[in-house]
């Protein structure tokens, strides 16, 4: 290839500065986990009276992260993610009441249950797309909720499942009444979840899933099976949701029917949209924003707090269509200008 050609190629290229965006974004992405860990630990010291809320936020963030894998990276429209969350929560809760009490084993039980439900239902419904798929995911969560409700002897039905008493973590750290162990445990699980999720989305499998989201025909022409990728991704995200459900069961000691409800699926979607889909960190930011506003506004006005959430969501969608996390893009663009 002659130098004349190479020189001429430069005229056909966008400016070099275009390369800085992805690099800066990657640097910011790499800093996300240490920042999250630092913020989580700082919150532990700064808000000792809100550890219960912060534990719920951490577990919910893992749940919303599972939705981000499915929707943000696979393009699977779903309003049924609570089916996997609730199954994981109930599986861990039932195991804790009848079989084992080790918190790590309970997380594994929850993840396995969530993944299994996702694998089976995903294989059945993921041939559909768009609105049809959305309806099918709602049907799945309704069916799972009804099964849980009917299996009253095992699940407690509408009264919920109580009596979940995990043993000390690693045999050393008791789940104390102040919620210190619960919070630090939930934070650690979330951090591990983010690291694993990041590894998945950057793997050849994760990249193929992102390819399916953009253009399934192209992925097929490259030798991949779009449906197989999506079912696998759905199952993997089901494991994440199941672990999040189990984490909630372990740290709260109770599991209710609302954990496997359509509204819980919809709330996860709201949190993801708020934070920004397809970024992982957006799931965490959205969860923190939603639950903090919920907590503060519900204390100020217990009857109209949803109004504030609605306004906040509208404002975000109108002015930050990519979610709160897209502010980082604006920063990068501003930095490039």
């Amino acid at each position: 290839m002659s130098g004349r050609h190479m020189g001429a190629v430069a005229a056909d290229q966008p400016p070099q500065v275009a390369a800085r965006g992805p690099r800066l974004r990657r640097t910011l992405g790499g800093a996300a986990v240490p920042l999250l860990a630092a913020a989580g630990l700082a919150a532990f010291w700064l808000f000792p009276n809100d550890l219960g809320l912060m534990t719920r936020i951490a577990a919910t963030a893992l749940y919303v992260l599972s939705l981000d894998l499915v929707l943000g990276f696979g393009g699977i429209a779903t309003l049924g993610q609570a089916a996997m969350f609730g199954t994981g929560a109930y599986a861990a809760g039932i195991a804790a009441v009848h079989l084992v009490s080790d918190p790590l084993v309970l997380l594994a039980v929850g993840g396995l249950a969530g993944g299994l439900v996702a694998l089976v239902t995903g294989a059945l419904i993921l041939h559909a797309r768009g609105l049809t798929l959305l309806m099918l995911t709602i049907a799945v969560v309704q069916i799972v909720q009804e099964v849980v409700n009917k299996a009253r002897d095992l699940t407690g039905g509408s009264d919920g499942l109580s009596g979940i008493e995990p043993s000390p973590l690693f045999g050393l750290f008791r789940f104390d009444m102040f919620g210190r162990t619960s919070y630090l445990f939930a934070l650690a699980v979330l951090l591990v979840g983010v690291l694993v999720a990041r590894r998945i989305v950057r793997s050849p499998f994760g990249l193929a899933c992102r390819g399916v989201k953009e253009d399934p025909l192209r992925v097929a022409a490259l030798g991949g099976s779009p449906r197989r990728y999506l079912v696998t991704l759905y199952a993997v995200a089901g494991v994440f949701a199941g672990v999040a459900g189990a984490l909630t069961a372990v740290t709260s000691g109770i599991v209710g029917l609302d954990s496997v409800s359509f509204s819980w699926s919809a709330e996860a979607l709201v949190m993801l949209v708020l934070g920004g889909a397809g970024r992982l960190v957006g799931a965490i930011i959205g969860t923190v924003a939603f639950m903090t506003i919920h907590h503060v506004m519900a204390a100020i006005d217990p009857f109209h707090w949803m109004l504030f959430i609605g306004l906040f969501l509208m404002g975000t969608v109108l002015f930050l269509p990519g979610g709160i996390a897209s502010l980082a893009d604006r920063f990068i663009k501003g930095n490039r200008a």
Partner: protein, 236 residues
């Protein structure tokens, strides 16, 4: 070294979109390592032919055999696994992925170190590997699309108007890279002179049917035929 893999035999192929038939009774063969130019005016069925070969249309009749193996009943991903590589007219770069990530999607389970093959063929891609797919120039996108298809080690590569919209120097660079390949190539191209210089044989389609098949060099010299079917007469 003469290749033994990549003989593509198309016999009586009729296909289209749904019930609409675009190409009818296509029959031609490309030998292993051969280069075929698939020519014709706009709307004559060239793109549909390639899309049919990779399983993206409705096949009504006929067979597609690669090294004696029938591909007609296979889906798109199975045909790619069998050895058909495809670079579509639209390039179809994943815009949300970087250059390197786009290339990884074409690896088909091969190690990441195989990316060096793509960078050796198109050094520009190595310089741009951290760039988003949507931030590439047209020429770079085409290089990326070709490189990604080649990483899957196809025995036959189908190229749909790879030079469309590119500056002449970029066309030279791309054709130079393609000329280094020893696999079977089918090239659909509106730049007839470049296509005939590149290919050993040529097929002309008109209204979805083969109206001429022969050596590329002979077609280049047959001005009357070129004028009649393609509306062009190349400079001597």
């Amino acid at each position: 070294m003469r290749r033994t893999e990549g003989t593509l035999e198309i016999t009586g192929l009729t296909a289209g979109y749904g019930e609409t038939r675009i190409v009818e009774d296509l029959t031609f063969t490309v030998p292993a390592g051969g280069r075929l130019a698939l020519l014709g005016r706009n709307g004559m069925g060239k793109t549909t032919t390639l899309a049919t070969l990779v399983g993206q249309t409705t096949r009504h009749a006929g067979s597609i055999r690669l090294d004696g193996v029938e591909l007609g009943g296979l889906n798109s991903s199975a045909r790619a696994a069998a050895g058909l590589g495809y670079v579509p007219q639209t390039r179809d770069i994943f815009r949300s992925l970087t250059v390197e990530e786009n290339l990884v999607t074409g690896l088909k389970g091969r190690p990441r170190s195989a990316l060096e093959e793509a960078y050796a063929l198109f050094p520009r891609l190595k310089e741009r590997r951290g760039n988003g797919g949507g931030a590439l120039s047209g020429g770079e996108q085409q290089m990326l699309s070709v490189a990604r298809a080649l990483l899957g080690r196809p025995t036959v590569l189908l190229l749909d108007e790879p030079l469309e919209g590119l500056a002449p120097v970029i066309c030279d660079q791309l054709m130079h890279a393609l000329a280094q390949l020893t696999i079977t190539l089918i090239l659909v191209e509106q730049q007839v002179d470049r296509a005939l210089d590149f290919a050993q044989s040529a097929v002309i389609l008109e209204r979805g049917r083969v109206v001429h098949e022969g050596a590329a060099a002979a077609l280049r010299d047959d001005h009357a035929l070129m004028e009649r079917h393609l509306g062009v007469a190349l400079a001597v």
